[in-house]
Structures are given as structure tokens and as C-alpha cells.
Amino acid sequence: MILDVDDLHAAYGRIPILNGVSFRVSDGETVGILGHNGMGKTTLLKTLIGHLSATAGRIRFSGTDVSRWPSYRRARAGIGYVPQGRMIFPALTVYENLRMGFIARGDWSEENAVNDIRARFPRLDTLLDRAGGTLSGGEQQLLALARTLCGHPKLLLLDEPTEGIQPSIVDDIIEILDGLHRFDGLTIIVVEQSLDFISALSQRVLLIQKGTITRELSAEQLSAGALADELGETV
């Protein structure tokens, strides 16, 4: 079990957003989270990475309670986060953005980590000297993903990675994530509005409504095409 979320509550000021979210994710699993706007999907990821403090509940990552840890400690422990809107450092070059993602771990040097990622993201390799802020939306999304992967996370949190992205880059992202999942055993939690994207990647899907997980769909249900029917009823 890489992630165990138990009765998690979070709020913006006095406005509660998460009202007791509980779920578990196994090593190497890919889990999708679906829900209407304002139901708490992004807030859930922000709480998992530590951008928002949990007001109650517990987050255990690889068996350790990280609920009170600042975000940098969670990242160093192996939680990678690709936020909605990408949050590229606009004045840094693409290469510097990638270097920012490096987290010293094991024998990997910064140079090795960045070179490995450059090989996985050939589209970025020709843009290394460009300022991050000058890239297209799709290129920025690739960069945001590549930057996080430079830190070799064990768990990847992805917030709406296809939002406003051209289809060819969405295909690239699916291919890269599928490869990381299949061959590197990366665990992924992805928040998405695109059913095609989430179906292509996820082994199971959690439906979130009003800050709680209301339903779970298994891999079998997903492959049977029941996701769209289920969503039609609940989301």
C-alpha cells in the first residue's frame, strides 16, 4: 500500500471542501478521480501534496504519516505533483525548469536525471534554451510532467493534464504515462474531465461528490465501457 487516505478533511478558510475522503492506492496502481467542478478533486490533490493543510484525517505514504509534513518533505519522500495550470517557472529556461524537478535520491545525479527525461520527452529536447513562459500550453504541460518526473517520484499526482491541450500532445502524455506505469511501476493518481483519457490510463476510478468519495469503478467495469453509464447517473 503506497497511499492510505483516511477520513481527510480540508477547507479554504471556513468553507469546507473535503468532508471525510477515504481511499487506498496500491503500489503500481493507476487511479482516476472524476467529479463535477467544485466537488473537491483539485483540493484533494493539493491536500495530498501539502499545499493545503488537512483540518482532520490522516495521509499515510509508504506507511508513514505525512499529514503534517510540508510539501517539500512529501516531494522528497516520493510524491510528485503536476498541478492544474502547469505552474511552469516562466522566467527559467526549459532546461532550468527540468533541473528544478531533480531531487537527490540514490545514485542519480542531476545530469543523469535530466538526460533520462530528455530522452523520454523528445519534443522538449529542441526547446531547452527557451524560457518556460514562451512555450505553448501543450509544451508547458509536457514540461510540467517532465519536470516532476526528474525527481523520480514513486507516486504521481496529475491534475487535469489534458486541459486545453492539442490531441497529439494528449496522445504523447498517455503514451509516456502508460510506459512509466507498465515498465517503471509508477503509481499514478489522475484527476481528469476527459473520459477517454481516464479510461485509457486508469485501473479503477473514484467518483467524488461534495468532498467525499461516493463510488468506485473497477478495471472490469471500466473495460466494459460502464464508466460512461455510471458517470451519466452520478456526475
Partner: protein, 288 residues
Amino acid sequence: MAFASIVGLEVVYAVAMLILVSLGLAIVFGMMRVINLAHGEFMVMGGYAATLAVHHGINFWLAIIVVPPIIVGAIGVVIERTIIRFLYGRMFETMLATWGLSLFLVGLMTVIFGDDTEGVPMSLPGLHIGLYQESGYNLFVIGFSVFLVGAVYAFLRYTRLGLLARATMQNAPMAGALGTNTSGVYAATFALGAALAGLAGGIIAPIAGVVPTTGGSYIGQAFITVLGGGASALAGVVSAAILFGVVDQAATFATNAVFGEVALLLAAIVLIRLLPNGITGRFFRRSL
């Protein structure tokens, strides 16, 4: 020809002094957006650190170049941890707090050192050009300022800590989510700014002497230069210092030092009127 050379050196010296005085503030205000009204007192502390070091028998060059940034950088860490870190993003409160800090430091230094001017003796041979002579120490100040700009540029551009500092100042939450201890980076960056202010104070001490109340005379020049330079901390300070230094010295040679100061202020007003975001708001936008 000799006169023109001397005038040229004096202009370059004025530019170098503006860079020296402003570089620490360029980091603290230009990068971190912290309005540090105690910047001048940081310089004065650097001056006192140099003075005390020389009086205790430490080599002159170590006393003015090494001791002040270490002492004032360490004080900067303490001030950042105890005062500044609670005020990031709160401009008005930061101004009030650093203004109070400025008054406190002036009072503290007056109690400790008195209000007599302390000097740092130095002797460097001058440079003879025709019938004229340029102070050897002025030439050192020019050379050292060039070195310092290069060193700060190299630090910010090529070191891991420089990268972390630039990224953290652009988007601290994202830097944190990538594993950067942003609180530590803020403390280190503030300490760098304080150390540069202390270094400037140490370098200037042999020329101007040190007295607790002299900080006020530096802070105006520093803020005008940093604001005139705009968003890019380093390129902004260098470009604004060149503009204001040339205007100041040209007016000084044409009239006197008082009109030189007036011309500098007028140039700053015109610049801000024409380029509200400073020089690097229009030019050299991608520079550091």
C-alpha cells in the same frame, strides 16, 4: 586628454558606487519584493564590522571584504527568521517593521559605538594621468564592483542554490512541491542580500568613515537605482546605475556635487515617468 580620462574614471567610479550600494537591495527588494528600509543600517553594520576588524589587527583586505559580509549575513539570517519571514507578501507591514528595525539599529549602534565617525586607515598608491591623479582605492572600488556583479550573476545563473532562489521567488508553492525547502531558500536569499549590503559598507568604510546615522544617505540612492532598474535584479541595477551615475557625474562636473544629486533625482523621476516598470520592464527583459 588627461582631464577627460580622469572625468571618465570618476563617472565609472560613481556607477560602481551605485552598483555597490544597490546590489544587496536588488536581491532583497528586486527578487524577494521585501521593502527593507533598514538596508542602509545593514551597510553601516558592515562598516563597523570592517572598522572593528582592522582595529583588532585583522588584515585590511580581509577586514573590508571578508568580515563584513559574514557578520551582516549572519545578522540577516536572524532578522529574516525572527521578523521578515512572517511578513512576506505584506508590503505595508514589511515597511513598518523594517523602518522600526532601522531606528532600532541606529539606536543600538549609537549606544555601542557612540556617534563619532570611525575611520578605517588605508593607503593605496594613486594612478597618475598627466597632471592629475586618481585614487588607487577608487580604482579598486571600480574593479571590485565589476567582479561582484560577475560573481552574483554566476551564483544566480550557474549554482543550484541560485536556481532554487530564482524559482522560489517566481513560484514558492511549486518550488516546494518539487522538493525545495522554500523557507530555507528565503532565509538564504535574504542573508545574501544582507551580506552584499554589509560588504558594500565594508568597502565604503575607508572612504566615508562610519557613523550610526549614515545609513539614511545610502538607502535613497539604493531604492532609486533598484526601482529605476526594474524587475530584473542584476541587469536592472547595472543599467540604472550606469544611467544615474553618468547623469550625476556629468552634472557634478558641470556645476557641483549638490546639483549632481539633484540631477540624479530628476533623472529618476523622468525615468519612472517614461518607464513605470523600470529599464528592464522595457529592455533586457529576459536578463537576471
